[in-house]
Amino acid sequence: MSALLETRHLTRQFGGLCAIGDLSLSVNRGEILGVIGPNGAGKTTLFNLLTGIYPPSSGEILFEGRPIAGLHPSEIARRGVARTFQNIRLFRQLTVIENVRIAYDSRLSCSPLGVLLRTPHAGFSERESVEASMELLDLFELGSLAQNRAGDLSYGAQRRLEIVRALALDPKLLLLDEPAAGMNPSEAMQLTDFLRWVHGKFLLTIVLIEHHMQMVMALSDRIEVLDFGVRIAGGNPDEVKGNPRVIEAYLGTEGELP
């Protein structure tokens, strides 16, 4: 399996602090990679680097073999890298369907002039984006809430909407930043089945940052462990579970990982 995403000696410094230190990891096509580590290990910074929100201090990021470091985030997103955010960043005042259509629109190609003069081509692409978005929303039982404002939705529905919005980009790689944050164990396990179903249906490659260990262990094919921006362990879930350095990073010295 060829590596869909690969980073080589990726580093990022904020002033003196080294958030990501010489990180080289790869994600293979169709795989679910779990990324775990204590708070402040640099996980979200990694996602921000992957999606181009700020450029790396040094090192390379290759997506489908081509370098994407330093590209405008929208360019990276259009190449098929979609993400959700740790704290939900929906377009709160816009309706549910508009949130999804904004992501779907980036796949449409109509010139600004065509839009201004309402050419038939622009009209059809509008219709297409409405129907495709409604299809996606119905798939995830959000169809009935299409006209509601995204800000008015329940917490769970907002989490699902964020995933639906990411899927509207028809991504090859989906970056999930703590999707189960603030959920109790039973909701987390529900989300796990949901994500497994999504992974199958949309033939996705997923990189998952999560603190719910059962979820990560159940979903991930491989796991990378970060601590203070440095990769300290990697491998399949069982190897990582027993690895002493991981336990030490998480729980201090003694104690057994559940």
């Binding site: 904020f14 979200t44 921000n48 929100i53 700020y54």
Partner: protein, 291 residues
């Protein structure tokens, strides 16, 4: 050479007046990250308050200065209390619009009350002194002196006193400050009062330097001082003073060389240049843009 020295004095005088007003803009922006567009009109009212005061009871210059500063300080707190505080949580744009609205209301009410330009009474004997061909008047010395004095006092207040520390704390993180027991609203009100007092003082000095007081002078000088505050780095006190003297000298020097219509063109192009290359002004600090 004598000619340039004379122009330098003119620039110093203009710069010090811009500095006093620019400080008002930077203080309010520092604390509330809000551009107080009504500040230019508070400056204009400083001159009108002085007119009112002298018409009622003729007082010496120093007393007039204090009374005018107190009056504009009160006005500043009133504006903050009734127009800006309710908008503390509203989107920042509506705060700017309210400031613009208040400014126009103040200006046009003053215009309604006294549409004619009024003469500024003479508070100081205006002796002129000659140094090797350069003339400097008592008035200019007083203006530059008072402005520098107020600026140093303000700098001391912000750097050394606990009130100053509280102001800087609010500037960095307003939400956190109220959790730590600092009375944020009072500090903000006092900041407004000080800013308005400085504006009032500048109004008085401006009225004495140019003894014709009219309601529309707030707009023109107010915008210039705002530009000075931005050049120096809005929110940064020393930046405001630096920006003011730069703008003062640029304006005087352009008029000394080119026809006066180029003055605004040059000063605003300077502003644009600085904003493009140093978006946060000469001394401003960029806020990191985090996800």
């Amino acid at each position: 050479m004598k000619y340039l020295a004379q122009q330098a004095i003119n620039a110093l005088q203009l710069g010090s007046i811009y500095a006093l007003i620019a400080l008002g803009y930077s203080m309010v922006y520092g604390v509330l990250t809000m551009i107080n567009f009504a500040h230019g009109d508070v400056f204009m009212l400083g001159a009108f308050f002085c007119l009112l005061l002298i018409a009622l009871v003729p007082v010496p210059f120093w007393l007039a200065l204090i009374v005018v500063m107190a009056a504009t300080a009160l006005l500043g707190t009133l504006i903050e209390r009734f127009a800006y505080r309710p908008l503390r949580k509203a989107p920042r744009v509506s705060a700017i619009i309210t400031a613009l609205g208040c400014g126009l209301v103040i200006q046009n009410t003053t215009l309604g009350i006294s549409p004619y330009a009024r003469p500024m009474p003479r508070l100081l004997e205006n002796a002129t002194y000659q140094f090797g061909g350069i003339t400097i008047t008592m008035l200019q010395i007083v203006i530059i002196g008072v402005s520098l004095g107020l600026m140093l006092a303000l700098d001391f207040l912000i750097r050394k006193t606990s009130f100053g520390m509280a102001m800087r704390a609010i500037a960095s993180d307003r939400a956190m400050v109220s959790l730590l027991g600092i009375p944020a609203n009072e500090i903000i009100a006092i900041t407004f009062a000080i800013g308005a007092a400085l504006g009032g003082a500048a109004g008085l000095l401006y009225g004495m330097a140019y003894p014709v007081v009219s309601a529309s002078m707030g707009i023109t000088v107010g915008w210039k001082a705002f530009v000075a505050a931005v050049i120096g780095g809005i929110g940064n006190m020393r930046g405001a003073v630096l920006g003011a003297f730069i703008l003062g000298s640029v304006e005087v020097m352009t008029v000394a060389v080119l026809p006066s219509t180029y003055r605004d063109l040059i000063s605003y192009s300077l502003l644009l240049l600085i904003l493009v290359f140093k978006p946060y002004g000469l001394l401003g600090k960029p806020a990191l843009h985090k996800a």
